[in-house]
Symmetry: T
Subunit: 145 residues, 12 copies
């Protein structure tokens, strides 16, 4: 049985590449997905890569990951800072989760310094661009089976 | 014409029974629904019992309850603390609403001590587990017809 | 041996019925006591119903309830918001306690939104008027013997 | 090619006319749409007028406006105050946006004084009722083509 | 029937004259009582002058004043700043109340700048020493009968 | 009798056109006055257009507007954020007032996000440049006679 | 040489009698002046009674009172809450000052609970209407000569 | 004449030994009294050891200690954090006071980190269990006579 | 053409020498002016030295300095802490400004620790008494011509 | 094997006796050391008494105490309030620690009321002067061996 | 020329392996160094690995890294949260820096949620244990040469 | 005997000239020293000019200055904002101290607006670049001997 990781992307990440590239970089979300899947394949990991602008969809998908014992890489975008529902979802399942942000959220506006997601995650990787997804995958590689 | 009550459940409540049972108890949401409907039947009340992880669905359903002159028992989960939209929906309709929480939210993290829902509800029952739904039903029994 | 519940009422509740009836209702405290004792009798519960304007009396009575293994229904009035002593008393005994408020304290002034009593109670029923006492009795009915 | 403006309405605005008319006025949302489209027609502007109770839909529609180079008139209702996702969406596109509120949000509860939407808008018109939509249209008339 | 005014003094005022005289003056509480009663007599007012160190006693006495339709001059001492119970008592009765402080509480520590008593009083006289009691009596002279 | 509107401009607005044009635009205050009076003339409205750097002058002029039953368009500049006196003046008269700001004050420093003027105004138009004055005139057009 | 007291009134007090009479009463400022001067005459006190809407005028007048060794009764209106300049003026002179407010500022909006004037005054009389001026005169009667 | 020290204990300390022993230890208050009196006897000090759940009693007893020139060891329990009245009492007398807490209040909930009593005490001993009383006695031994 | 510097002094500085000399020193404002002009003369600088108690006058004078390309030494007194209007005036002109305070405002009350003037000044000299004016002149000497 | 206690003193304590003696007393640090060692000798305890102005030295010494199983008496001076590093050091070792302050830090400036050291100590003795060291030694006497 | 990276470790990290292993893991700092250097060798990177308990040493070492154009992996321990000096050092040099924490600091005490270091770093990796150092090395691998 | 002044420079000031020159200017610290010593020589003042990145060194040097009765010019860099130890050191000695900053710290990040050093200094000169050192020397010139 192959290992499985859900990579869940939140609001506005569908615009990557065009959206404020000086902050978020020039890669499109598709580019990140392709790159990450290539890395995952080499590690024998199956990646389920999704994006949504709905808070509730992220909650649903975390539940789904929990049901499938999949680990989670979560870039919840703006919901990182406002969604207790998403934090509760992560606490309700047993999946390991690593929080990823393309930009260094701690160098930006004050309201981006607080993360509900962090309270229910193993750890956080922020500010390392698309490479952050790769590092998260490597970090989870040990703890999934 | 039978009396009608909407019982609206918010995010993550679909995981009841498996989700942090030391906080939320071992009953599943279905169990609560069955138990509550039995009590309601004896009182001649029709219960419409729903769950969603989407904030906007709760808003829609409150509107629907308002249109049907149904009273509301609302366990909004995490949206309790963050959703002004839900508070506004309750204020926009004339339905009586009682806020219910399985756990005692005032013994938990600080961000769970504030409820937007409370500002638009008759009252609150918190910390009494699944029995809180029953008590809310009894409390509404006088004010619906 | 019959079951026993202390119903403890704090400051200004002796004026119920005349005090700001648009907030607190028209029932007098005696009316609430009579109604509640009738319900309790049917459940085989003995109710000890008291009121005081002194913070220290509430502390004493909580100790007494603890010594008698009686459960507690506590409407601490204004001391709800200011008395750490009362919270400590509840924590010092093993009696179950349910916090009751006639009005919905979360729709009132900010300083009424915080409750020390909540931190030492099973749960809270607020905003359901005199009926809140009855519901608290029903809620405690399972957990006393 | 005719000019295009998206008029996006957030949660509970579908209840306009019945919802707390002393705050929001007696016009229904349909009335506002009809009136605005008449004004727009005279200015050679095409208006796409929508309402939703879902935060994510507003994010989607802002993206759509961006893709079509349409300007935006946005009454985000309660999401005005809580949605960083919506602010991010507006920042991610190049469409001009004017924020509109029927009531004067600065005379209401404290939590309505803060707007995430404002941080990504040209300007705000608040408290001028349905006429605010018309004024926003006039204001955008110069900057679209 | 002669007019009646309750003059209620809170904690530590029994030590007047010896207690920090640079703040509170050299008059004893008895001196203030004698002086005030002389003034009251000339105005045909009966003064009931009391002191206590117990918060609950002040609540009781406010109730008693309410029952007798007596106006109240209240120097609640430290309970001014901490007693919601006392504020509630004043709100529960129909007696006019004037808040008096010997020292100017607004020139002292921050925690003395807030008064719960003020929220339930006609007005406040602070910093004018024992003369403040006389002025309060004169102020109430019109409104009692 | 022709309709009358006072257009009151606060501190530093006399420097418009030269003062930080990237924020406030290149129009001089005279230009705005001329443009606005042309629009007003067409609507049969008499405009009294003034500027001052003194807080007290704004208070005086609001009183004068009140005495003449004139509506008010008020750009109070920095006094927007600090002058309770000006808010009180607006509350003391029966004139309708619309608050106007050239820049979007909600995108600027935190201390510009709070407006005392808003609490005594019908509404606010902010961030739409000199055009904001025109829109305010149109908005008041219905309510003056 | 007769004793002298400056009675200084701040912004918007010139509108007394017409301005929000439910808060400020129906007496005009002239009425208060006449009444107060009659009382003063009986006490052999000369009253200099003034009103201004300019913060700086109040500062000037306090200086003038200081130069003439006159005591001060000060109703600084809204400048009470915002003017450090006025506080500094009072501290710079040796005149005794009593702060007067017609309404009970502690029952009103939060921003009216803080007074810079208090920090430089003997005491405060608030909420006793026009009578507050009379009481302040009586209070100062002993300390001037 | 023998030296005298009042040892005053506040709310819930009568339950010592049974109350949350992991926090407060297993000694009863009587045990502490006996131990302390033995130590005191050796030092020629007379100890008056009392406990109450009423805030006002502590105020009274501090006054009594002041009248007898007795030093004070004060464990005010929860009133430590809420009683300005008690702080004022200590300031009103000339007795030296040492504040004692069984637990280290600075390692507990935030609301236990603030002490009004500290502001009127020589010093504080916290977290050293029943031994803290003994140390306080030793500390006061020099300063009483 | 000689160099020009405006030295602008705010409220209460006209009382220097008599006003709280332990804080502000014994020099009168005239003394400071004379001393400073002597120093300026040696440097070939023309000093325009003014004082006012009106906030708006300071705004006007800053505008005047801007129009004359004069640098500014500004001791805004209490308006330092409250006047956004003054800060805006400084930002609206291109004159260099150095903020001067006689006392060290950072050792005084908290409300004197914040300066709006600082945000629009080159720098600040505080606590060095009248000599601060001289140092400011020396500092500006390089940057004016 | 003799018992060992590290007595660690932080910044500025090397100036004891000359430094603000009205706050810190007239004893030099050497005097305290001599006195304490005499007491320790009688108890069979070896005292290692040190002082440093470097935060990192305190961290090192705590590590050293941990390695030697020595208990700690810690007067960290100003680092008490700012050093998370020191708190972490105490948490990293198993040594018992008692926090000592010569002055009563809770009667001084607000920034001295918070102690990071407290969160990692058994208890605190504050305000009892040099005697506080002796009392700490007595308190530790039972728990070391 | 081989690439160079400074790996700088702050206070208490010398105790790794023994210090609260449930938080920080069981690896010693030496183990981490060995593992990291092996990885670095494969990438052709030279690692300079250091630890100190002195804030100033970290500042010095950051300067040294800057002088050598070395990138930085920085686990500043407790100084992360308190050291503006360290942040300034990072801003003063041109070296890329990645902040690493063994534990997830956002799940711990509030005072650990703020990082001065973040404001001067490319990004942060927190909560991934010793592996975080490896990931940081991989992340820096692209940007150094 | 010649006069002596210690000029103490804190963290990162050794990088002056290369460190963010748009903020701190292009002069190196050596340049400032040379310039200042030339000025000092003319005034008959001996300057001891030092720099350190260690908080404790600054404390030591302040002590040394105190022992030598030398005045102090202190640019504590980042320790300005965080070091209570340094403030305490300044308070412990009798040396006059003037605080100097190259940049105007009040125009920068919020955490740079607070200075512990200010509370123990005669005054502050901020924002006037390297010239600030010269001005401080001139200011101290009178008070040293």
């Amino acid at each position: 049985m192959s290992k499985q990781i859900f990579v869940l992307n939140g609001p506005n990440l569908n615009l990557l590449g065009t959206r404020e590239p000086e902050i978020y970089g020039v890669l499109k979300l598709d580019d990140i997905e392709i790159r990450l899947k290539k890395l995952a394949k080499g590690l024998g990991i199956e990646v389920d890569f999704r994006q949504t602008n709905q808070e509730g969809d992220l909650v649903d998908w975390v539940h789904e990951a929990g049901a499938k014992n999949a680990a989670i890489i979560l870039n919840a975008g703006a919901y990182t800072h406002t969604s207790i529902a998403l934090m509760d979802a992560l606490m309700a399942v047993e999946s390991d989760c690593i929080e990823v942000h393309l930009s260094n959220i701690f160098k930006r506006e004050d309201f981006r310094h607080h993360s509900y997601v962090s309270k229910a995650s193993l750890g956080i990787i922020s500010g390392l661009g698309a490479k952050g997804y790769d590092l998260a995958l490597l970090a989870l590689n040990d703890s999934i089976s």
